[in-house]
């Protein structure tokens, strides 16, 4: 296989972006969609070829291409260069595969939207940057994709820019990500200062050869972690992701599943050599991951907006991936990243289908009983719910179980605590996902049926705004009055939307089977596939002595998931009203969760407001208005009082200034030239 083909993988979506971005406005919708799909399918095809090539016997472990320099100064150079190893291959598969399905879905979902061409141009741009990110063979090129997906998400989240909430959410996503980028940049500055290069292989070789650990490695690793918390929505920078659902639903699927949020996990996995040299940084990663997983899951318990529940579940699941990396099992993190891409892509697209069916309704309190009305959506979404909850034999079961088992057995007492947190989160996840499932598809219908409107997301945004204002006052779990459902209006989505759902549902079921551990009768092919990247030279063969423990762990986590599902069933199907009663009983706790621990408010009051106040009062008012401008005024005032001669300078007559200048210069020249004799020395 010609490695030069690697260039085509990102360039094709970029070409699609350029085409649709420049002339798309004048093209018919069918052509716009065709361009976007074609320029996404082609890289997927190349990736498939690449996959076959890399799996073949005797294939190199990594494939590289290099072009001319991007930045070149004496002593420092960065080239346009791509490398594909097995880790990149997995990411490429996810991005192009799931990304392509989301593109197909969008054709149906966006069919009636304004700015169709703009939407597809941005989607292709998103793919381009994400592909650059995983193909990059240096930190700086990775950063191109890193910032680029930030830009693409800014454009897509703020797609309905006439709506303030969407414009705000886009801006928030970009700026919060910039806080993370600040860390990433500082890490790169340190790398340049210490290694004089940003090339992955050079740096990692040097680090791997280093007998030291901690110190500078910890500093760099922690700064990279800050970057990763921004992109992968972890504490403390997760706040942009729940707001990101302001964009059209396929965008949420793209951001949450195939692109963007996976970047942080990928980056940590890519830098595993560095992290392995810093136990402190790994501990931080593990703790952030576990804390975020639990924290986001608790918020997810009480949300009413179907997309918001999914958004917090993403934050929580990303926490698992962080946890996996933090305990040093990067391949488990990537495994969960992959299965999560399947089931979260599925869940978002299915939620979009639900919203589509209900003409823009996103509040689960106004859903219910949809099982029979939109059966394909129901069955596919069920696969997603089972997968994310970790029900055997769905994909999420295997990946989550691997993370939990590795956390429990990695030795330190802290990790046992983290394992417990992970297990608890698994139960919570199962609970809130089944809550979503029951509230949406079971029970009585609670919606008022309307004729289909065509601006789904605009409408959805309007509703979301209404509900946001509602939830600012304390609303309990009490269900709103059931409304009279009419027979028409609720409809299953067209095949362009259901086809991706079906494919993703199948993947959510079988996608985990590539990673069945030996203890459960599989071969753990996924770990073996990634072994050359993460455990080069290490023996990762399973130890039969541990099979018993691993089986116990699997059973425990399955039981926990089933318990969560059971409680959800009890609360929302068997005895509806239990939840409301509990919420009323623990009013303050409920309020805390309902307001997402007030984190946005705390950031606003203790970070953003002080910055603005300091800027306005101290910097602009006192320093700039007082001292800097005061100096200027003082300068003028002192000259004014300096007598007649100087007052002339203040005349405001510009010609006289020139005159003074010339005269003054002449005097000084005269003194210098004629005060001395001849040229000195």
């Amino acid at each position: 296989m010609n490695p030069q083909l690697l260039w085509l993988i990102p360039i094709l979506p970029f070409a699609g972006f350029l085409l649709n971005g420049t002339i798309g406005r004048k093209l018919p919708r069918a052509l716009v969609a065709t361009i976007a799909l074609l320029f996404t399918a082609a890289p997927a095809f190349i990736v498939a070829q690449l996959w076959i090539f890399m799996k073949s016997a005797g294939a190199p472990l990594a494939l590289s291409v290099m072009s001319r320099p991007w930045i070149a100064v004496s002593g420092f150079q960065v080239n346009f260069a791509f490398t594909v190893d097995h880790l990149t291959l997995v990411m490429l598969g996810i991005i192009t595969g799931v990304g392509f399905l989301i593109h197909i879905y969008s054709v149906g979902y966006m069919a009636h939207e304004e700015g169709y061409w703009r939407f597809f141009a941005y989607l292709n741009l998103f793919m381009f940057f994400m592909l650059v990110l995983v193909l990059a063979s240096s930190f700086l090129l990775l950063f191109v994709g890193w910032e680029g997906v930030g830009l693409a998400s800014y454009l897509l989240i703020g797609f309905y820019f006439t709506k303030d909430s969407a414009a705000n959410a886009g801006k928030k996503a970009f700026i919060v990500n910039r806080v993370g980028d600040f860390g990433f940049l500082l890490a790169m500055f340190l790398l340049v200062a210490h290694y004089g290069t940003l090339d992955f292989s050079t740096i990692f070789e040097q680090i791997a050869a280093s007998p030291l650990s901690g110190g500078i490695f910890t500093a760099i690793a922690l700064l990279l972690v800050l970057g990763a918390t921004g992109k992968s929505a972890q504490i403390p920078l997760y706040i942009w992701l729940p707001d990101a659902m302001e964009g059209p639903t396929p965008v949420s699927a793209l951001i949450h599943a195939a692109t963007m949020v996976t970047a942080g996990i990928y980056m940590v996995a890519r830098c595993h050599v560095l992290f392995d040299h810093s136990p402190a940084a790994l501990t931080v990663v593990a703790c952030i991951g576990a804390a975020t997983a639990l924290f986001a899951a608790t918020i997810g318990l009480v949300q009413h907006d179907i997309k918001r529940v999914l958004a917090y579940s993403t934050v929580s699941q990303l926490g698992y991936m962080f946890l996996a990396c933090g305990v040093g099992d990067y391949s488990a993190g990537i495994f969960h990243l992959m299965t999560h891409a399947f089931f979260k892509g599925l869940l978002f697209l299915a939620a979009g289908s639900v919203i589509h069916a209900l003409s823009g309704e996103q509040d689960m309190r106004n859903m219910g009983g949809l099982r029979k009305r939109i059966p394909i959506t129901f069955w596919t979404m069920s696969a997603g719910v089972f997968a994310i909850s970790g029900i055997f034999p769905f994909a999420g079961f295997y990946s989550k179980d691997e993370i939990l088992y590795d956390t429990a057995t990695s030795g330190s007492p802290l990790h046992l605590l983290l394992w417990f947190v992970g297990l608890l989160t698994a139960g919570l996840t199962s609970f809130y996902m089944f809550r979503l499932w029951f509230k949406t598809f079971f029970g009585a219908a609670r919606f008022e049926e309307r004729g289909p409107t065509h601006d789904y997301d605009l409408h959805a945004g309007h509703l979301a705004a209404v509900h946001a204002s509602k939830s600012s006052t304390l609303t309990l779990e009490a269900e709103p009055e059931p409304s009279h459902a009419l027979a028409h209006g609720i409809h299953e989505s067209p095949w362009v939307m259901t086809l991706p759902l079906i494919i993703l549902a199948i993947l959510s079921l079988i996608g985990g089977w590539v990673g069945i551990p030996e203890a459960l009768g599989g071969h753990n092919e996924f770990d073996h596939f990634l072994a050359p990247v993460f455990n080069a030279g290490l023996d990762i063969a399973a130890n039969p002595a541990h099979f018993f423990m691993e089986r116990v762990d699997a059973i425990v986590s399955l039981l926990v998931a089933l318990t969560g599902a059971f409680i959800a069933w009890y609360f929302y199907c068997y005895k509806p009203g239990t939840a409301a009663a509990l919420a009323a009983k623990y009013r303050r706790l409920y309020s805390l969760l309902d307001h997402k621990y007030w984190v946005d408010e705390i950031y606003g009051r203790f970070i953003i407001t002080p910055i603005l106040v300091i800027s306005r009062l101290i910097l602009n008012g006192l320093i700039d208005g007082g001292i800097v401008q005061g100096t200027a005024a003082g300068l003028a005032a002192s000259t004014r009082s300096g007598g007649w001669l100087v007052r002339r300078i203040q005349s405001g007559n510009i010609r006289s200034y020139a005159g003074w200048l010339a005269a003054g210069a002449a005097v000084v020249i005269a003194i210098v030239l004629f005060g001395h004799h001849g040229i000195p020395h």
Partner: protein, 548 residues
Amino acid sequence: MNFDPIILTLIIATPLAGAILLACIPEREGSKTHAIGALLISLLTLLLTLHLPSHFNYHAAPRTFQFEQNLSWIPSPNIRYHLGVDGLSMWLIVLAAFLAPIGVLASWNAIHTRTKLFYTLFLLQQVAMLGIFAALDLFLYYGFWELSLVPITILIATFGRTENRRRAAIKFFLYAFIPSAILLVAILWLYNLTGTFDLPTLQYLALTHHLAATPTALLLCSIAFLVAFAVKVPVFPLHGWLQDAVAEAPTAAVMVLAGKLGLYSILRFSFGIFPEQSRHVAPVLIALGAIGIVYGSLIALIKTDLKKLAAFSTLAHVSFVILGIFTFTVIGLDGGVFQILNESLIGAALFVLLGLLYERYGTYDMRDYGGLATRHPWMVTMFVITVLAAAGLPMLNGFVGEFLILSGSMQSIATHHILWTVIAATGVIFGASYLLWMIQRVFYGKIGVRPDEVPGWDLTAREHLELWPFAALFLAMGVASPFWMRAIDIYGASTAGKLVEVGHGLYKNTANGEYSFNDQEYSRWCLDHPGHCRVEVRFVVSTPKEAR
């Protein structure tokens, strides 16, 4: 015919001849004669400047000048007509010439009265700028430097936007003029000391430690130079003139107001004649640079006047350059010089865009705007591209400069350099914040008060012509930076590094362990200039490491 020796004279003479020509053509009401004339002249100048990159010798020895013209002008005092460019100034000359036609186009409709005065002064300003970048004789340079103050001041005072224009012009003039007068004294003191205004000569004398004055006197002299330039940049906290001048100045003038002239002068003269003293004050300037970045960005965050916001954005961007060049690392200097180009282009594009908004809606108050994205799809596209370049998005030009500058700052050996790097790097957060906030206030949300009253139109063909070159350059310079960096790096590599004393009071200037100062060259120079080498020096001859 070989144009090399006279090309710089041609480049400077063209706008000068144009200015004289325009001054002779009588002005008629509503006629575009002067605008067309200025456009043609500036295009011709741009064409001439393209000779420089196409004939530049990238293998020339460091610290040498190309396209030199060195004639005796006045024998006593020894003033020479000495022009020349090196890796530092070449692209700056092209940049200045590139911005001129765009400045004319941006003034096409904005300036409709007193066009003769406007375009004559505009071309004079071009003469001064090109002269500053090309002059290698201190006296000649000073002439152009002073000349650069006058047209701008008159342009602000005459064509300013509000009643505040005269005050703004006077403030600008006083700020620039008083330090310049001190600069003149310093130049003359140097002449008194060495008997020459010639920059290459002075550079050699400085690097060979032959400026026969006390360290204190030299330090004071270097500070006189530095302050004059720093005010023009402006370096925080000497930016008192910036806000009003930017707010008042017409687009074509605001494009040349801040940044490149002062920054170039620091690099050429402060670093050239006072290498040791500049390193001495570097920690202070690094701190001021870092503070300026954050300070400018934070104030931009709360400004509601678009022009004032852009003024503080300019302060933040030139502060990046200050931070970079005073690290005295190769990447810091290269990035800093590259960032001068970026800052000028991005700033100019931003001011052109703001001018377009003002032409349509007659206000710079962003509270009156909103929702323009649906009305001006092309304008918002250009705005977003410009803002992304300013915010340092990779693959656009701003990123290359900022990245190199901050990397250089991390490598610097100045005290507290890590602290200042961290502080400066917060600029990437605040920078994105105020820029995206501006975009949102002007273009997103609901249609604002002002656009509701006044109909607007998307970009005209002329406006497309003004803006696309910027967008193309942002991308080209962001993706293919080595094309520009190659020349800049020659300057950067020969200026960076510690000054190492190699014996007999002779300094060597090292970067990356390479000797960029050539002893033999110096000894030859001493033979050519009897009387200048006051101390008999036996050179420590060492083989220069293999050239890159």
